[in-house]
């Protein structure tokens, strides 16, 4: 466990599935050098196959006794989807025989292949919601526990989970060990890579790109021990933000406000069934555990209170008025950390190996 833990809260009532976060992350980190297929941030439709395909059934995480469970390493073509490209250049240059856009491979699968399909029968009771996912920067990471090379580490200062690419040898046990399949194998460099919670931004006081760009303003970022942070209030004070699949035992640090609002069902004549709700609470319980019932109760009560009295701190938080209040990164904190560690910027490697523990002359750069 790290000294402090940076966390993110995502309000699922407000996610519109626009993928702006996905694009913000992709253009910043994963559009090159073997990372093309990776989505460190993705937004999937739930219920659905997710990304990678059926990730919840691919193993990893811990059992009740705390033992790491074996998992499966997804296949690029079948489970992630080969990133395809279009014939822009030949079309632009007029060198193409064809006069229309064509993908360079025939796509068979990709992220959001089943976007907006959801479950249920249209129009009676069909439903879905969006589930944005990044690395959970777990307190008990499955990836870290699976690594036989000591190549994954959790930063003391903020609990961000990183891969030391110097130590990583591309064994991929981390991918099997992560129940969220949020660590990826880069076949070009034969090493594992993952969401870094935009630590170079964070250290400068900026939120991760996915949170900054979110048009629905659904993402809150702050330290879990900072009682002034909205993250603290949502997770600990009101207990309305819950970890995803906490039953995997990794203690995730990305929290979700469960979707409480969904339209009523229609009967056979197409009439509204009063008091019904399309979104089965069992599905939410599967994702967020039994605490989801209390969270929903609190959210509904506060919503009612706000309607009736005009006052609710929780609702005001969720309206997300100001970025500066949503993101409490406490820039001075990182400056102090860097000063204390006599390194600026903070190095993205495990300090245990900076001196080259087992090599004689500067083996570790």
């Amino acid at each position: 466990m790290s000294k402090r833990q940076l966390a993110m809260v995502m309000d699922l009532n407000k996610c519109i599935g626009c993928q702006t976060c996905t694009v913000a992350c992709k253009t910043q980190w994963t559009n090159r050098n073997g990372r093309e297929y990776m989505y460190w941030n993705n937004v999937e439709t739930y219920p659905g196959t997710g990304y990678p395909k059926n990730w919840m059934e691919l193993g990893g995480g811990f059992d009740a006794a705390g033992d790491l469970q074996p998992g499966v390493i997804p296949n690029l073509e079948a489970d992630y989807g080969v990133p395809w490209d279009y014939n822009y250049e030949s079309l632009m240059g007029g060198q193409s025989d064809s006069n229309h856009f064509q993908p360079h491979v025939s796509p068979t699968w990709g992220p959001n292949w089943d976007e907006d399909q959801g479950a249920g029968a249209f129009p009676q009771d069909n439903y879905f919601f969006y589930l944005p996912r990044i690395c959970n920067h777990c307190t008990n990471p499955g990836c870290l526990s699976a690594c036989p090379r000591d190549a994954i580490f959790k930063r003391e200062e903020d609990g961000v989970v990183l891969v030391d690419l110097d130590r990583c040898q591309g064994y991929r046990y981390c991918i099997a060990g992560c129940p969220y399949k949020k660590i990826y194998f880069n076949p070009k460099i034969s090493k594992s890579e993952k969401c870094i919670l935009c630590f170079p931004r964070i250290e400068q006081g900026l939120p991760p790109a996915c949170a900054q760009q979110c048009v629905g303003r659904i993402r809150f970022v702050g330290f879990l021990d900072d009682e002034e942070s909205q993250v603290y209030k949502l997770v600990h004070k009101y207990k309305v933000a819950l970890g995803l699949r906490s039953d995997y035992g990794t203690q995730p640090n990305v929290y979700y406000i469960p979707p409480t609002e969904s339209p009523a069902k229609f009967d056979a004549e197409g009439k509204i069934i009063e008091g019904s709700t399309r979104l089965p609470v069992e599905e939410l319980e599967k994702l967020f555990g039994p605490a989801v019932h209390d969270a929903i109760k609190t959210l509904k009560a506060e919503m009612k209170k706000r309607k009736e009295t005009g006052v609710s701190e929780l609702m005001d938080l969720l309206i997300a008025y100001q970025h500066k209040d949503m993101f409490r990164l406490d820039n001075n904190y990182y400056q102090e950390v860097a000063k204390a560690a006599k390194r600026n910027p903070l190095a993205p490697v495990d300090t245990r190996y900076i001196a080259g523990k087992f090599t004689k002359a500067g083996g570790h750069h």
Partner: protein, 400 residues
Amino acid sequence: MKKLLTTILSLGVAASAALAGDLSLTAVKVSDKLDALNADSALWSKAKFATVALYPQSAIEFNDKEAIEANKANKGKKAQVAALHNGSEIAILVKWADGSKNVQGIKCTDTYSDGFALQFAGTTKKAQPLPYIGMGSDGRPVVVHLQKATDKVYEPNGNKDVSTQINRQQTGVFGKELAEYDAKVVSLANTDFERVFVGEGFRSLTEIKDKSVKSNAAMKYENKGWTGTLVRSLKDDYVSASGTVPVAIAVWDGEKHGRNGLKLLSSWVAINLEGEKANAAVVAEATETPKGDAAKGKLAAETNGCAGCHQLDKSVPAGTMAPSLVNVGGYSTAAYLRESILKPSAVVVPGYNRNAHKNTPWYTIEKGKRVSTMTDYSFLDKATVEDIVAYLKTLKVEVE
């Protein structure tokens, strides 16, 4: 050249028929430079081949479902090994059968390469006991040379060349300039996956990147088998070899999702440098056949409760309390087994990730030192210990 190689290989096969599982061999002395040696070099006709048995590393089970399945019925393998030296460099050739050539694709997430590694004992004040076979142990370092079969790989981070870490579509150039950019990227590609590590126990390996170790490894696939070669200096910052060079061999099969611990490995093999005085004690340690009574040892292992933590028999599921010993007789020396019974904490490697099985730690850390959770069996009488060592040496799968 091909004809010559066939001759060498047939020589090797003849040797294997006569000797099954050699633990010492002679590096023939030559006067030639060896640094450019590969599988096809004519010099190998001068070498003497020996057969070394390789056993599945089965001390721990990794958390990869498909790999566990693929390696369930693993058998041992025989490798043909030969060595040459010229007083300053040693060249080692390892040939092993592998029905399929596996090269990790650069557009795949779940394929693995075939490969081989040679482990050398690092320089220590005393040459013995030899380092723990699993990548050394505290104060007994090893140097591991790893060669994997790979496709052409573009590794921008290797050269820290930030300017080429841009997606071609974001370079802002078109046509001829874009073609030039593509060509530059290709020119930076790296075809060889050859790495050198130093370590003091499984999990502690650190890559030596400062080029202080001069070596050249290569592998070639032909006739349903690989031939791997390695040339390295006999003396450098990490290794100081003379007389007898202890070497251990490992091979990986990509078909079976082989990587890191998922491999076949030999016990220490003593390579005597022709023309130099062999180190008889090292040869004895590598080749020792225990004198005890294995049947009595099996009984003693039962009465002393070894199976309470260790897997001794493949038909019993392996726990997570202690390393499985089902192949320990294949890749461990008698000296190591004896030491482990009498002084369980003498060799405690960092091992598999302790977070994976928190309730069954193999060791505790006391005053910064790893202390094995295994009972100290130094109270056993000498004869019983020898019997158990003899029994443990019988624990190994069949070699195909």
